[in-house]
Amino acid sequence: MSATTSPGTPPRVRLATMWLDGCSGCHMSLLDIDEALVAVAPRIEMVYGPLVDAQEFPENVDVTLIEGAVSNHDDLEHVRTARARSRLLVALGDCAVTSNVPSMRNRWPVKNLLETIYVAGTDTGRLVPTEGVPPLLKKSVPLHDIVKIDLHVPGCPPAAPVILFTLTALLDGHMPDFTDPCVVSKVRFG
């Protein structure tokens, strides 16, 4: 996607997406806005995320959409980087908003949890993996427990029309109102 703009058109919004402890369903739902992508694409420059190649989270990002809860030390570092380098941070979907399914493990201490799954739960592994995987946090938490979040978009996943409503509002320079009659029936919380 090119960042060049013809004279007179407003500069493209530098958009990043991030995938933490989630199932990628929110990213799928973003792609599910289908033909509306054609209208959105010329207004954005996709600078980071699982849908593009960039390896490093860049500076001066306008909007970052984050999917997933904060569950391990890598997530923690990523969400802090995103906060430091983005003007607007959006929690996209229930895992980012409430911690959702990842929080179901919060009732058990991490050690017991891992041993139950990797030792007691298998007859081949017998070991809790430690190499190449970041250590888990004590609890899986919503993004706003770690950094300031400017907008929460609930839903598991947020319905495509809700994502489009959000993107359009942000590209037009205002915050979406989810009690608006044209989306309220498509918004789901929890």
Partner: protein, 236 residues
């Protein structure tokens, strides 16, 4: 003949009967007040604090479902203060237990979830409590999942007032309160339960559900309970 009173609801003058609650008067006047624990046909508990209203001259907010309307009362049902307090009440309910809607049989048919959308709750500002709570699946046809219970006591009231069995009660206090079957025994061993399922049908969330339902499959039928309540009311 009952005594008539005059009440102002959001500036609109309404005539009501003495003994009616603010909620009933507002409803008759076509004013919508959000509510969770309240259910038509059952007595009022005032436990969820979502129907809070402002009464002129009073410094504190009152639950509309348990406060009797008085002659000359001026009530506000919609304001910034009320919206703020109602949202906070709802967020506290979400933070108290483990409502993980994505994996709930009542997802999409839940009154708690619907209220969050109606009141514009998009996140919970309070830290989640993540309590470790049991699930009672000992009954052959129904399940009680404490993780999704909001302690509204609809089940307690419907069982006592409509079915006449009084299987359910609330034990403990404050945040440690729990719904209990008889004197705290597994539902499947209850001697007084008739297995009618009224508690399941009136439960606003996925706390009381039918067995064998998958995610999003549990829809509740309130019609029969409302019908029985009307019949009871009409009895001489």
């Amino acid at each position: 003949m009952s005594q008539k009173i005059s009440v102002r609801i959001d500036g609109q003058l309404c005539t009501a009967e003495a003994g009616q609650t603010i909620y009933q008067v507002a409803q008759a006047a076509g004013r919508h007040i959000p509510a969770l624990c309240h259910m038509e046909g059952l007595s009022s508990a005032g436990s969820c604090r979502l129907c809070l209203v402002q009464v002129e001259g009073l410094g504190r907010l009152l639950p509309a479902c348990t406060t009797p309307a008085r002659d000359g009362m001026a009530v506000t049902t919609q304001s910034e203060t009320l919206a703020h307090n109602r949202r906070m009440a709802l967020e506290l309910l979400f933070s108290e237990r483990n409502h993980i809607c994505a994996v709930c049989v009542s997802n999409g048919h839940c009154e708690l979830q619907a209220l969050a959308c109606e009141l514009g709750v998009t996140s919970v500002r309070f830290p989640y409590n993540y309590p470790r709570l049991p699930v009672d699946a000992s009954h052959p046809r129904f399940v009680l999942d404490h993780n999704r219970c909001v302690l509204c006591t609809r089940c307690v009231r419907v069982c006592d007032e409509i079915e006449g069995a009084h299987v359910w009660d609330i034990a403990g206090r404050g945040i440690a309160s729990m719904l209990v079957c008889e004197l705290d025994r597994p539902w499947g061993e209850a001697e007084s339960c008739t297995g009618c399922g009224k508690c399941v049908q009136v439960c606003p969330t996925g706390a009381l559900v039918e067995k064998g339902r998958a995610v999003e499959e549990m829809t509740k039928r309130r019609g029969p309970v409302l019908h029985l309540a009307e019949r009871k009311e009409a009895r001489p």
